[in-house]
């Protein structure tokens, strides 16, 4: 026998082995349970997808849940029977969680699907073998349940030079692998040869077994005679059987942190998995059963059994004389790394290597934890050379950063530190919790990082846009200043000062308004005074009334006088002012103001119309806001709006009546009536426009919502979410809304276009003409195609834009206060025009 070098691992502990009690009886079969519970997730990776229906009759060996992708494994029916249910059921998991399980009512006949044995498996190619292993649903039986086919198909950049078969079984109590190696050494060796073939015959093929299993070692050595397989025994120490630890023991190499063994040219498989692979390849048997150790002083019989997956734990325990009162807990797996079961209904699965039912004397409940005295026994025991006491310290302080610098994530949770801790601190539990916390922290961090990046990007974009806007604004301002300078130079040659005049115009406007108000209020009072007199009246009251009426009348006449006097004086002033500089635009403005004053009734009306329009706009806005926020206010507000509208239309009518009258006496050279008319028209247009604009904006927002909703719906469909249908309905509804809004918009546009027809400044009866034109247009529109309509719209928009631009230019020259309003108007028009053109392009 050649001497094979083995390495030592740091740390480790020697808990009492307790391996003899389960080896006293031979490996026994277990009866088929009346009901099997088969979780779809008995492996690491994606859960398998059930492919049977409730009520289906299945045969043993039939696939009942299919692997979902590469990192998954098939689930087969372990025996024949009927699918009773596919439901959530408690599964073997430390958290005691539930998972999807296929419940199989067995019929006891154990009928099987025909299997296809391969006599010539040694000649089969790699892909066939891998497919067969994958098909058989083989996952690592050592404990982790890693899909075997994945491990056996390493990436091309990971050349494998060492195949290690893990027969260490370092956990106390467990003897399942020991029994397998003793009784089925041939299968283990044959399986090992298949694995070696799959991995292109690596230089070293080693089966590692702890030296506390001499019989297994002897059996394996005998079976391996004549082959290149080395059976290596090494000193018993927990946790030698950990994959990383065994690799270190047998090769002296360490798997780099965060990588897989294939990265250092090693593949490691458990002996049970190896034997199962052999049976799958040779006989076509899928993985439906395994050897499990049933042990503990709460049982009358302690032994190893070959048990079907899905067999409920209580069925297994019943067969072994389980005394619930005696048991301190029930552990699936060994005493070092196994987890306690929440109840007895959980099934045996692919990774169940042991069922431990210890008595209270055997594994007493844990003692209360005391303070850590930093004795360092845990550090001595740690197989990966961590400082468990420091990790504990930082875990308690929730110092996540220090935990990571102390390599918390290299902890394999073997439990050696907790085992030796004299203060009975459940260290591993702290590490598990801390790991979970750090993982959550990482997820949260990533999320916040992403949104922060998005936010920063957005801020950048906005800042850029702002800067561009600012630059443009500055350029314009400069241009305006230059224009102003030029103007000032021009003015320097003329004696008069336009500015004070303009100011005085403003002042007089105000003063006049005041006087007018005075007059109006006097009138009002008079009216009030007159009212009660008309109705029932005693003499006394009548007298009083008469007195107050007289007083009111006096006041009215007084106010009227004052106003007249003021207007007269103003007229004088203005005439004086107007005699100077006729060429100047400012002078023109004064001229206009003068004209305004001579036309006071019309002007008044126009003012009132404008103010009414403003109020109406505000009121409408309020209504919209109220619709969103205060539904109960809407009606009242709406009424207000209606009233305002009435008033407005009345005012407009009056104005319309007045305008021709005013226009008639005006001299042909005086353009004022037309200007007034144009303003009225514009105001009207605006008024008419506002609902349309509203519609358009709502349409836009609807489009946006639709887009979002469609995206969501598509996403949901991809994920196969049950929300998909609801989302789709939402999309449908949105589409309907859009259609109706579009219709409304089309109608609104029609009327707008009608009213917005460019005005002929020369026409005296502009209003009637406009109506005439609108009527004609509406008639034309009715017969027009959609594209024609759009074309018309574009044309009119262009005309409006040109006008607006002209106005803007003028305003810029004059440095008008309204320049900004003009500008926004122009840009709005430009936008509208662009969208209209787009629409047209789409249509044609």
């Amino acid at each position: 026998m050649e001497l094979i070098k083995v390495w030592d691992i740091p740390g480790g502990v020697h808990p009492p082995e307790n391996k003899t009690q389960s080896l006293l009886e031979p490996l026994g079969p277990l009866a088929i349970a009346p009901q099997l519970i088969l979780p779809v997730s008995q492996h690491i990776g994606a859960p398998a997808k059930p492919i049977v229906e409730v009520g289906d009759q299945v045969l043993g060996g039939q696939v009942i849940a299919e692997a979902d992708g590469v990192f998954s494994a098939n689930v087969h029916a372990p025996t024949s029977g009927r699918i009773a249910a596919i439901v959530e059921h408690t599964v073997p998991h430390p958290s005691g969680m539930t998972d999807l399980c296929i419940i199989l009512d067995t019929d006891g006949k154990d009928d099987w699907t025909p299997l296809s044995p391969w006599e010539d498996y040694a000649e089969r190619n790699k892909d066939d073998l891998l497919a067969r292993i994958r098909e058989s649903g083989i996952a690592g039986l050592g404990g982790a349940g890693f899909p075997a086919a994945v491990k056996l198909n390493p990436r091309a950049n990971h050349p494998i030079d060492t195949l290690i078969i893990n027969g260490t079984e370092c956990e106390p109590y467990i003897t399942a692998d020991d029994v397998l190696m003793r009784e089925r050494a041939q299968e283990v060796i044959a399986g090992t040869q298949i694995l070696a073939q799959l991995l292109n015959q690596p230089e070293r093929v080693v089966i590692g077994v702890e030296d506390n299993k001499p019989e297994a070692i002897a059996a394996l050595r005998k079976a391996a005679e004549g082959s290149a397989i080395q059976v290596v025994s090494f000193p018993t120490k927990y946790p030698s059987g950990g994959e990383k630890q065994l690799i270190q023991i047998l090769t002296g190499r360490e798997v780099p942190a965060g990588q897989i063994p294939a990265a250092i040219g090693v593949v490691c498989q458990n002996v049970g998995t190896t034997a199962a692979i052999y049976r799958a390849v040779r006989f076509g048997e899928p993985l439906v059963k395994r050897i499990t150790t049933v042990v503990g002083e709460a049982l009358q019989t302690q032994r190893n059994i070959e048990v079907l997956f899905g067999t409920p734990v209580n069925f297994v325990l019943e067969q072994h004389g389980y005394q619930h009162k005696k048991a301190s807990r029930l552990v699936m797996g060994g005493p070092m790394m196994g987890f306690s079961l929440p109840d007895l209904s959980v099934p045996v699965v692919k990774t169940t290597n042991c069922l431990l039912a210890p008595s209270k004397k055997e594994l007493p409940p844990p003692e209360p934890a005391m303070a850590c005295i930093r004795c360092g026994m845990c550090a001595e025991a740690c197989p990966v050379e961590l400082l468990p006491q420091q990790l504990f310290w930082y875990a308690q302080a929730e110092d996540l950063e220090k935990l990571e610098t102390h390599n918390l994530f290299d902890c394999i949770e073997c439990g050696a530190c907790s085992y030796v801790c004299p203060s009975h601190i459940p260290l591993v539990q702290y590490y598990r919790a801390a790991k979970g916390e750090i993982r959550q922290h990482r997820i949260d961090k990533e999320k916040s990082d992403r949104s922060r990046r998005r936010f920063e990007f957005r801020q950048d974009r906005i800042a850029k846009e702002e800067a561009e806007k600012e630059a443009k604004r500055l350029a314009r301002k400069k241009a305006a200043e230059e224009a102003k300078k030029k103007l000032a130079e021009q003015k320097a040659n003329t004696p008069a000062e336009p500015k004070p005049a303009a100011v005085s115009t403003q002042d007089t406007d105000k003063q006049r308004a005041k006087l007018e108000r005075l007059l109006a209020s006097a009138h009002e009072r008079l009216k009030k005074a007159e009212q009660p007199l008309a109705e029932e009246a005693t003499d006394e009251q009548a007298e009083k009334q008469a007195a107050s009426i007289k007083q009111a009348q006096l006041k009215v006449s007084d106010a009227q006088k004052k106003l007249d006097a003021f207007i007269a004086s103003q007229g004088e002033n203005n005439r004086q002012a107007s005699s100077t500089e006729a060429n100047d635009p400012v002078a023109a403005a004064i001229e206009r103001a003068k004209a305004k004053q001579t036309m006071s009734p019309e002007e008044k009306l126009r003012n009132s119309v404008e103010s009414l329009q403003k109020r109406l706009q505000k009121a409408e806005q309020k209504v919209i806001e109220a619709k969103d926020n205060k539904p109960d206010m809407v009606e009242a507000l709406q009424q207000g709006v209606d009233k305002l509208k009435d008033k407005l239309s009345a005012a407009q009518n009056e104005l319309a009546e007045l305008t021709p009258a005013a226009a008639a006496p005006a001299t042909p050279a005086n353009a004022t009536p037309d200007v007034a008319q144009a303003a009225i028209e514009r105001a009207k247009a605006k008024l008419a426009m506002s609902p349309e604009e509203k519609l358009r904006s709502s349409l836009e927002s609807l489009y946006k919502r639709l887009e979002k909703a469609e995206q969501k719906a598509a996403g949901a469909k991809q994920e196969d979410s049950d929300k998909a249908e609801a989302l789709q309905q939402g999309v449908e509804r949105l589409k309907e809304k859009i259609a109706s809004t579009q219709k409304e918009l089309a109608e609104a546009t029609l009327s707008t276009v009608a009213e917005e027809t460019p005005q002929d400044p020369a026409t005296s009866d502009a209003a009637s003409l406009a109506i005439e034109k609108a009527k004609a247009k509406a008639a034309a529109m009715a017969t027009m195609s959609a594209s024609d309509k759009l074309r018309n719209q574009v044309d009119s928009l262009q005309a409006r834009l040109e006008k607006a631009q002209a106005r803007l230019e003028k305003a810029e020259q004059e440095n008008d206060d309204n320049i900004d309003a003009f500008r926004t108007g122009v840009s709005k028009l430009e936008e509208k025009l662009a969208t209209a053109r787009d629409q047209l392009a789409e249509l044609t």
Partner: protein, 350 residues
Amino acid sequence: MALLRISSPHTHRALGTGAVMRTVVLATLPGLAVLTYFFGVGSLHNVLLASITAMGFEAAVMKLRGRPVWFYLRDCSALVTGVLLGLALPPYCPWWLVVLGSGVAIVLAKQLYGGMGFNPFNPAMVAYVVLLISFPLHMSQWAAPLDIGGQTPGVVQALQQIWLGTSIDGYTAATPLDTVKQNSGLMLNDLYLQDPVLSAGQFVGAGWEWANLAFLVGGAYLLYRRIFTWHAPVAMLASLSIMAFLFYDGGSSTSGGSVLFHLFSGATMLGAFFIVTDPVSSAVSTRGRLIYGAAIGVLIYVIRIWGNYPDGIAFAVLLMNFAAPFIDYYTLPRTYGHKKSERATRKVDQ
């Protein structure tokens, strides 16, 4: 059927904190026996009084903190503190000195920091230093060993001295460390011939050499029981030896004393195996403990030879207690799968 849910591991080694502490107390017994033999009942009385009062203080604080008293007394950590303090105090010192010491150790140095496991400094050494600075006269009077006095003070005499303050005549003598420190002008060999304590000893000084040997035996027992690892004590003894060897200069009048002299005089062995190994206040990793122990060894020599005090264990240990967390940051072991050991101060991406 509901079952008890307990996280792994389910099995546990029998050794608990209480057992560890009791083993440590057991290991001090040879040293205590030798001290009692050579210097009389003074040390024994110190140990008993300090232990009882230390446990009393512990119980009182636990009561004040609203913790289960018995549960915490059972861990015997207060007992260990009391025993170590009692061993360190000079025999026949007044009773209030001992009580004050154990009070400082338990209340000030241990419980005020959060109790067991949270004290950054060794409680016994804090108490020792507080007493040494506050009551230098009482703390520097050590009894003469049996070999030169002919007999040790009797029990009645001792109790009178301790409790009533009636002093015993001429029971004190300079310790070997004192003698060598005060030496001016004599070659070491001459000093050994002249000084009564040194000349009465076999290789270092009467009584002291045997006491140190006894503590060495106790320490070896603890090592055998794997209560602590060898790193810190061996590093301390090694660095102390190296310092002593470097500055021995063949035994001139300015010599610091031989390697053997430093290893077996004063509180060297008590410090090495019972003080330096205190896990709570020391560095944690293997490398860290080597550095920690070695630094203490160097400091002890520095204080003994060039400092103001004849012995420097307490100061050296306290100084290195300060440095322990710092050492920890830079001496993380190399974890499996990592190329090199990292620093605990490195930044990580979370």
